[in-house]
Symmetry: C2
Subunit: 336 residues, 2 copies
């Protein structure tokens, strides 16, 4: 039900019954390689285009999440998913093979939590017994579309982020064993006038701060309620900015409490400048690494704040600033 | 709540409290010119790009729907909207000025009913008191992106459809006076292998038929329950195909019962080949003309089946076929 101005609390606490993740060869070498269910050794993934490879990534994560609980696509009532590719074709083609009634989303890198928030609401209120949600991104497909084909070897400035080649999917159900989705806060479009597409973290930080503040106000909750406030993906430029903005708003978070998916996935030697990004990043890190840590009882409660830069190459060329958004979902270990 | 495999029935019958529509000069000359709240006399709409003009169209429809019931953007909890432009920037920029918590959708021309279905579910289950939903398209922005800049004067074959320059928005609330949203059916991706991007109606007809069949099965309802089954947009090629497919499935609809937004909006002299399309088409025709007819008691019950072709120029170049989808929402006049 609605709580405050822009949040939902889930009275029946929908359960994340299962998750699946897939990644590419560069992600295999990163910090979280062992957290992936499937790792492709080749960025083409046996496909003839990078967009088709991204479709394969999404399918792989979806089928991995289903197979762990012995479910088939036809056991799901709806899939809530999207990505960054024009007209979200990579997701739509994955949903063609899944053949599950499909709600297409666009929230750029915030899509992961947009899908989990909506899907959890639908399950919580009896609109589905099971839903599937997730997102994927492919470095070569996304870089080509937003910037340059990676084959050009174009250089990027230190504030830029590296689009991950990864996917994450989750099955949410009414009852069962697993982490519970307890609330969600839907963000507004926040645009502070930043125009540099090589500094997404800086552009998105105010959106993350706005949504976290709204979440705490709506739920009358101190940030200390959460072990972690997990952003995805602000990187090394955006994360400190977000903390500073929260401090200005009087929302007191600690340094250790704030972690960012874009800073977790790769290791220091991978030269990814300000961190990782891409709509598959938070999906893969949350549905892989972080829920694994929750399973190991290292995390009890986390607020995942997925951030999206809603620009396009065309809006940039037309000299628009970068509109940003962040959606937050709280996930708690519960008694299981 | 979930009914059957992929439908929701709304126990509290959310109400369409208000709608707003806007159109361009070509739409003003069409059959439904008088049904628009606002008509722009210039396709640039005083903006310096067609994409910004589309944003203006969306804003105009949104503010028109709000002002009719003396509401402001801040009275809405959420906006469910999207469009066809890459990364749905036209909608995101409109939502930047509206500053309502925003759920971005992508369903191509099915976005109108995707938004109404989701928004109605959220209102029905106490997730919002008021939501805003809608979509827009601009002929010159969409044609440029998917085909050629209109200034080139490229010819199109007779099976092609004309992207409308129009927008439609609706405010849905828990209680009040207005047409009721009584159920929704979420479609699957249906792809029969068609590859011609100049024949969207033919490609989308099977998706419409599939969703209508699912709706009737899920609700155990004969199509005769509805005065009209309104597609958007199959055009003159797709509509007869859909009727034939329904007949093959044993879903008996009558000729008079099936109308198509893409065949209503323009007049015969406007040379728009197989009809109109664009994500603003069904939004404008349903939230303008058809709900005006319901207000006049000429329509009591209609099933609006918005269809989307989920391709991109790139997926076409990569020789993919056209994945399609259709989402259906039933709107009933009720006692008001």
């Amino acid at each position: 039900m609605l709580q405050g101005s822009q949040s939902w609390t889930f009275d029946n606490s929908p359960v994340i019954l299962s998750t699946g993740t897939a990644g590419g060869p560069f992600e295999a070498e990163g910090n979280l390689g062992r957290d992936f269910d499937h790792l492709f050794s080749d960025i083409w993934m046996s496909e003839d285009s990078f967009e088709k490879a991204q479709t394969k990534l999404m399918e792989e994560a979806a089928y991995a999440s289903l197979s762990k609980i012995n479910k088939k696509p036809e056991d799901m009532q709806f899939v809530f998913a999207g990505d960054l590719i024009n007209q979200i074709t990579a997701t739509s083609f994955a949903c063609r093979s899944l053949a599950i009634p499909y709600i297409g989303l666009f929230g750029a890198c915030s899509t992961s939590m947009e899908g989990l928030a909506l899907g959890s609401f639908i399950v919580d209120k009896g609109g589905a017994d099971y839903i599937l949600t997730g997102s994927a991104s492919h470095n070569a497909a996304v870089e080509k579309q937003f910037r340059y084909p990676t084959e050009y070897g174009a250089q990027k400035p230190p504030t830029s982020q590296w689009t991950v080649t990864a996917s994450g999917a989750a099955v949410v159900g009414k009852t069962g064993t697993g982490p519970k989705v307890t609330s969600a806060t839907i963000g507004k479009v926040i645009d502070m006038g930043l125009t540099d597409p090589f500094n997404m973290g800086g552009a998105m930080a105010p959106a993350a701060a706005d949504t976290i503040e709204a979440h705490c106000t709506d739920l009358n909750r101190d940030p200390s309620y959460y072990d972690y406030i997990v952003t995805g993906d602000l990187g090394s430029v955006g994360l400190p900015l977000m903390k500073e903005l929260l401090q200005q708003k009087g929302v007191m978070v600690t340094d250790d409490q704030c972690i960012d998916c874009g800073l977790l996935i790769y290791n220091e030697d991978q030269n990814i400048q300000a961190g990782a990004s891409g709509s598959g990043c938070s999906a893969a890190v949350v549905y892989g690494h972080l829920l694994n840590r929750m399973k190991d009882k290292e995390i009890n409660k986390m607020l995942v704040v997925a951030t999206g830069a809603l620009l396009s190459p065309l809006s940039y060329q037309q000299k628009e600033s970068i509109p940003c958004i962040a959606h937050a979902v709280s996930i708690e270990r519960g008694q299981n």
